[in-house]
């Protein structure tokens, strides 16, 4: 690429508190329009905000998890603009004194992306455009959000997506947000400018608003790169402006330029004096953080010896990693990891199901089953059969393992049987030796028949190969 991308992100994340930021209305997603509303979140004259304690705690927890400096005193501020989805004609947000300063995200390529700040604010309502007018639904109005602002430290689409994924897994792991982009509970604005590699100065940036999927983020970045590069190649000047992205066309288009940009007239929200957290409260929030996905990922790869790809899958959702941790206790972590990923992930396929990981075989029961296998008490075929039965009837492994199952052949016994198999299947041996690989299966099949499936097919195959050299 001719130009280097310089990208900063503003990521909005809805907090998963039970109630809105300033009133007791539910934050539940969906619901018939304007049924999760009260005089406060519809901005009726005379109403006042009362700040939700949990929203502040969640935001501080997010700050702690992203290595921010959580402030003991921060101030809510009114940000003024007029739009029908904003009932008070101002959004209560934070301006010069946000809850969290600094922080960072470390990427797998070794680069550190610094955060500017994290602040708390309220979400706006939703508009449905019709020929009759804008249909306004304030159910989402007043849902607490945090805005995570990064420095312009990101240099390309891959970094942006990894950064977003990092925020997503981290915020989910600490239980402050479900970060569902398709439901709008996580969305981001991309500030992007170009410069020649090695240049010190930043170019003029555009801000593409409200991207609500990883695909949209990648497409918007790609489009903006091409658009700005074309302007620069032609010797033109990029203008600073706010742009919108259309998922249909994959293009961005100008919403408004800097010259007629809004004047938000921020000032401290007089109805909420200040947000205070004591040093002790902040320390307690830090102390109560669970192991974060990034640290967990490192532990899985470095200490447990799991591949990076598998570790990523296991740490993506907290419920999955918790399940894995229980299932692998006292066993080889790799066995449990591979069972979950190869067997269970092929049954539990959607992201949503994995996020709310609740398989019919409990982690304890799986642990017991894998333990029997690892200690050689049952073979793979039995594991497969018993697992299916466990899933069906939701009982522990012991309920399905017969005496026969546990009569696994010792190595000596198996060796003996394999020798017999080679002797009695001379034709197959000859076929195999002449290059028909499939013939091997017939010899193994003999062993399995003789043992009624109790032998370890893989071991048998190895033993047969050893014998026929």
């Amino acid at each position: 690429m001719k130009y280097e991308m310089v990208i900063g992100l503003e990521t909005h994340v809805e907090l998963s508190t039970k109630t809105k930021i300033f009133c007791g209305c539910t934050t539940q997603f969906g619901g018939e329009p304007n049924t999760h509303c009260c005089p406060i979140c519809t901005g009726m004259p005379g109403t006042l905000p009362v700040l939700n304690k949990e929203a502040v705690r969640y935001a501080a927890r997010a700050g702690a998890a992203l290595s921010c400096d959580v402030q003991t005193r921060s101030v809510m501020a009114r940000k003024h603009y007029v739009y029908p989805d904003l009932p008070k004609a101002y959004q209560v947000s934070q301006f010069d004194l946000p809850l969290c300063l600094g922080g960072y995200v470390d990427l797998s390529n070794g680069r550190r992306i610094n955060l500017t700040r994290i602040h708390i604010e309220e979400d706006a309502g939703k508009l449905v455009h019709t020929s009759r007018g804008e249909m306004i639904d304030y159910n989402r109005g007043g849902v607490p959000l945090i805005e995570i602002v990064s420095e312009p430290d990101l240099r390309g689409t891959d970094e942006v997506l990894e950064y977003m994924e990092h925020l997503q897994t981290t915020l989910r792991a600490i239980g402050v947000s479900d970060c569902r982009m398709q439901e709008g509970s996580m969305r981001c604005d991309v500030n992007l400018s170009l410069r020649l590699p090695g240049a010190k100065e930043f170019g003029t940036r555009s801000e593409t608003k409200n991207l609500n999927s990883f695909t949209a983020i990648a497409a918007a970045i790609e489009y903006e790169y091409a658009r700005q590069a074309e302007i620069l190649d032609a010797g033109g000047v990029v203008i600073q402006e706010t742009r919108g992205f259309s998922a249909e066309t994959g293009e961005t288009s100008s919403l408004r330029s800097k010259e007629n940009s809004d004047d938000y007239r921020y000032f401290p929200e007089p109805d909420i004096i200040a947000v205070r957290l004591s040093e002790e409260e902040i320390a307690a929030i830090r102390g109560a953080l669970p192991e974060l996905p990034a640290a967990k990922l490192r532990r899985y790869t470095d200490d447990l010896g799991i591949s990076a790809a598998d570790a990523k899958l296991l740490t993506k959702y907290r419920a999955v990693s918790e399940y894995f941790e229980t299932a692998q206790a006292g066993l080889s972590p790799k066995t449990a990891a591979s069972f979950i990923i190869t067997t269970m992930f092929s049954e539990i396929t959607t992201e949503s199901e994995r996020e709310h990981w609740n398989p019919s075989v409990s982690a304890q029961n799986l642990n017991e089953l894998l333990g029997l296998s690892e200690s050689g008490k049952i073979n793979r075929a039995t594991v497969k059969r018993v697992y299916a039965q466990m899933a069906q009837e939701q009982k522990p492994a012991s309920a399905f393992i017969t005496e026969e199952d546990t009569q696994v052949f010792g190595d000596g016994e198996l060796s003996e049987l394999c020798r017999r198999a080679v002797e009695e299947n001379a034709k197959s041996v000859a076929d195999y030796k002449s290059g028909r690989e499939k013939a091997l299966k017939a010899i193994v099949g003999f062993v399995m028949r003789e043992t009624k499936g109790r032998a370890d097919a893989q071991k048998a195959e190895q033993e047969i190969l050893r014998i026929i050299g």
């Binding site: 304007n34 304690k53 009759r132 249909m135 200040a274």
Partner: protein
């Protein structure tokens, strides 16, 4: 002091229409109030302790309380439509100018 142009910008931010209003006269009127407010510029605050002394405001527990019925929420709306068990406020997008 404020110019007619400045007044127009102010009116646009304030979402007030100045249609049919004498801009210069209104600018003089608003300007006189601004000049009056501008007296604060002459205040000498040396020797004053200007640090904030605000108290902790009591925060609210995260406990759901029932919302207000949608019919009540919409009761004062100039235009609203019902939709299933809910309803929308309607913001007009195209008006009728005589």
């Amino acid at each position: 002091m404020i110019t007619a142009d400045g007044l127009l910008k102010l009116a646009s931010l304030s979402k007030l229409s100045l249609d049919g209003i004498d801009l210069d006269e209104t600018a003089r009127d608003v300007g006189s109030v601004i000049d009056f407010a501008n007296e604060v510029s002459t205040a000498d605050l040396t020797g004053y302790n200007l640090t904030e002394t605000d108290d902790q405001s009591p925060l609210r527990e995260d406990i759901v309380v029932p919302s207000v019925p949608v019919g009540t929420i919409l009761v004062n709306a100039g235009e609203a439509v019902t939709d299933g068990g809910g309803g929308f406020f309607v913001a007009p997008v195209k008006g009728a100018v005589k």
